[in-house]
């Protein structure tokens, strides 16, 4: 589904990603962990095509298409969804309006007709239950005045409606209390399916108690320095990032 090969990316001439290799197959959940500044959010930005990043080397293929050739909206239409770490506020635009515009844009790209208002509303109502949100949310301006937890639930609501093939959750657990974390995780787990893959970016292992990954990768200084099963997350929790990153620096020094 997704194949990242030797990906190098920089901002303002500064190299952030320095040779990422990652393959994600349908239905798999990959967790990407790492200390601050390791390049986790940059990876999410590069995958979704945010402006300001320069790809200097490497390739990304998504469903056998060259992802780097697609505009951000086309990537979204192709089925890539990013749950933002900091969802932005859009004053005056109601949540339901954005949802409907998004869903219809994606449907249109796939040659489907737009949903009419009734069908759309019943779909949205069903998905609202998933993240335990009131209908009031739909008529408030996008993320305006939302609490941290409400913003993240809203991201999962959008994901539930757009039904992406690949969902990238960027620090979805940050700023959540335990109750909100449970609701969000429940929503995400309900969306697991054999043909939907996820990349879960997180700093803490806590989220991975609720969203159980198939693989865990540790990112440090723009490279994946260790990969393993979910038990790797536990080790990190117990010992911190230090033991791997140091080990990694040691190896690097030795090879040099």
């Amino acid at each position: 589904m997704l194949e990242i090969k030797n990906l190098h990316a920089s901002i303002d001439g500064k190299e952030i990603l320095r040779g990422i290799n990652l393959t994600v197959k349908p239905g798999e959940i990959h967790a990407i962990m790492g200390p601050n500044g390791s390049g986790k959010s940059t990876l999410a930005s590069v995958l979704t095509g945010r402006e300001g990043y320069e790809i200097t080397q490497g390739s990304i293929s998504f469903e056998n298409h060259n992802l780097l050739e697609l505009a951000p909206a086309e990537r979204a239409q192709a089925g890539i969804f990013l749950a933002f770490q900091y969802p932005v506020e859009i004053p005056g635009v109601s949540n339901i309006y954005l949802l409907k515009a998004a869903l219809n844009a994606v449907r249109k790209a796939h040659g489907l007709t737009e949903l009419d208002a009734m069908d759309f509303l019943s779909l949205v109502k069903e998905k609202l239950n998933l993240v335990e949100m009131d209908q009031d949310f739909l008529y408030r301006a996008v993320n305006e005045g939302f609490s941290g937890g409400e913003k993240k639930r809203n991201e999962i609501l959008q994901m539930a409606i757009l039904e992406p093939k690949l969902a990238i959750l960027d620090e979805t657990d940050s700023g959540l209390d335990i109750d909100a974390l449970k609701i969000v995780s429940h929503g995400v787990n309900a969306l697991r399916s054999p043909d939907r893959s996820m990349i879960v970016i997180t700093h803490y292992q806590r989220l991975l108690d609720y969203i159980i990954p198939d693989y865990v990768h540790v990112l440090s200084q723009g490279r994946i320095i260790k990969s393993g099963g979910r038990e790797l997350a536990k080790e990190l929790e117990a010992q911190g990032y230090g033991w791997i990153t140091e080990k990694n620096t040691d190896t690097e020094n030795k090879t040099q």
């Binding site: 979704t48 095509g49 945010r50 402006e51 505009a71 951000p72 909206a73 990537r75 979204a76 239409q77 969804f81 990013l82 933002f84 969802p87 932005v88 859009i90 004053p91 005056g92 635009v93 309006y97 954005l98 515009a101 998004a102 844009a105 994606v106 790209a109 301006a141 959008q158 757009l162």
Partner: protein
């Protein structure tokens, strides 16, 4: 409409010899008292009307063209204008094939029916449209309620007593350079009178969209809402209109008596010129409402997207105690457009209230200025004003300017002013794009959100059109 039908339609006008008739009805360029006498005579006006025009003209001769706004344009030669001219058909495009294709694309995007597109683009077609008969039947209904809704010329003939009583009571013939010029030479416009206690059952002018296209260069509108009455009036059209006349200097006067309410909504989308601003219209308008009675209310809502230069300040004079004035405005400037617009709220009566919500959007090389005056006079005890003035910038070459003036002469007044300037953020755009929404749709969505507080004041169908219009007007403004 098929090409064949179109051709038939076009050839029809020659059959009736429409062109020659009209051409004979055009005065040579230039302005003097004889011209004014001629205009008045051609319209069979009563004596008082001619005298009023002449007074205005004599006053105008003593005035200088004002230049205090923050707009820039080359000098206007007032002697090079023909002051009485039926539509000039000679220079008009003969079919849609001769019209700027960009204009046609815009009509298509706005969903304007084909036969209307020809009128709007100024194609020389003389055809009778359904709307005329619609107009007539509605006029009948209005007449049953005692509502007068007719052209200004008709009102001068049929209801001279009302014209004589109210004309110039809000915008006197000495008011300002352009208003004086208008008073001297105006050729037509609209007149509305709502009798006591009558609530006008429909939005006036919705059904007259096409007819309104030909109101001319110096338009005069007078609306009177008698005690306890209500009227909602819509002016303008969302489609960009081509016009031969570069200078437009209209005057609109509104008068609300005790407990009466007037809601006046405008969508102004005159031809803004090409991307370099060539050929665009100068729109210098004087619009003012007088809340004469107690608890009267006047509300202006405007969406300004057209014209090369827009210069106007729909204002309210709050004379009656407890009267209410409102001003809701969206002004958009793209390419080389300039807008200097805002309002004046003059509080004279006690417990008067006013609200100003202004949203300015500047894109391309557009320059957008809000200029507003809130004036609380000595006797206006407990007057209140709330002003909110927001600007949205798109790109690096545009500008937004705010000039709020506040004069308070009564200690009990409460005046609030809030202002903000923002840019469409890259984060907002990316957020929408990441949800699959194209850049242009995302821009349009964000801008419409910014304008929501104003759009919700527009009558429903107008609001929908206005939203579409903003989207179209901003196309290509973000790379």
């Amino acid at each position: 409409m098929s090409q064949a039908a179109l051709d038939t339609l076009i050839s029809q006008e020659y059959k009736y010899g429409f062109v020659t008739d009209i051409e004979a009805d055009t005065l040579p360029c230039g302005l003097n008292e004889d011209v004014i006498r001629l205009i008045s005579a051609k319209k069979n006006e009563p004596e008082f009307m001619l005298n009023w025009r002449l007074q205005a003209f004599r006053h105008w001769l003593t005035m200088k063209e004002p230049h205090w706004s923050s707009t820039h344009y080359s000098p206007i030669d007032y002697q090079a204008i023909s002051y009485y001219s039926a539509p000039k058909l000679k220079n008009r495009p003969k079919s849609l094939a001769e019209v700027d294709p960009k204009l046609l694309q815009t009509y298509e995007k706005l969903g304007i029916p084909l036969h209307e597109r020809e009128i709007l683009a100024g194609v020389a077609v003389d055809a009778v449209f359904d709307s005329v008969s619609v107009a007539t039947s509605f006029k009948g209904k209005l007449a049953e309620l005692g509502i007068i809704f007719c052209s200004f010329s008709e009102a001068v003939k049929e209801h001279p007593e009302l014209i004589e009583k109210y004309l110039g009571t809000v915008v006197p013939h000495t008011d300002n350079f352009f208003a004086s010029l208008n008073s001297a030479v105006f050729t037509d416009g609209s007149f509305v009178y709502i009798p006591k206690g009558v609530r006008c059952p429909m939005e006036l002018s919705t059904y007259f969209r096409i007819n309104a296209a030909n109101t001319g260069q110096f338009e005069r509108t007078l609306i009177i809402a008698d005690e306890g009455s209500y009227v909602s009036y819509l002016e303008g059209c969302t489609a960009p209109m081509r016009d031969e006349n570069q200078l437009h200097a209209a005057v609109v006067e509104l008068i609300a008596l005790d407990n009466a309410e007037i809601k006046y909504s405008t969508v102004q989308n005159w031809y803004p010129g090409d991307e370099e601003g060539r050929g665009g219209i100068f729109n210098f308008v004087t619009k003012r409402g007088l809340c004469r009675g107690i608890k009267s209310k006047i509300s202006w809502t405007q969406v300004e997207t057209g014209s090369a230069i827009t210069w106007k300040y729909p204002s309210v004079i709050l004379e009656g105690d407890y009267s209410v004035g409102e001003f809701y405005s969206v002004a958009l400037t793209n390419h080389r457009q300039q807008a200097d617009t805002g309002t004046k709220m003059v509080h004279i009566g006690k417990n008067t209230r006013s609200t100003i919500i202004s949203k300015g959007i500047a894109a391309g090389h557009g320059q957008n200025a809000y200029r507003g005056l809130v004036k609380i006079l000595k006797n206006a005890t407990n007057a209140r004003n709330y002003t909110q003035c927001d600007s949205l910038l798109m790109g690096e070459h545009c500008g937004a300017h705010t000039f709020p003036y506040i004069e308070v002469k009564n200690k009990t007044a409460q005046v609030e002013h809030e202002a903000s300037t923002s840019k469409i953020s890259a984060d907002q755009l990316f957020y929408c794009q990441q949800r699959g929404i194209s850049t242009e749709d995302a821009v349009s969505m964000i801008v419409n959100g910014f304008c929501k507080a104003v759009f919700r004041e527009l009558p429903m169908e107008f609001a929908v059109e206005a939203q579409k219009l903003l989207g179209v007007s901003l196309e290509g403004s973000i790379g």
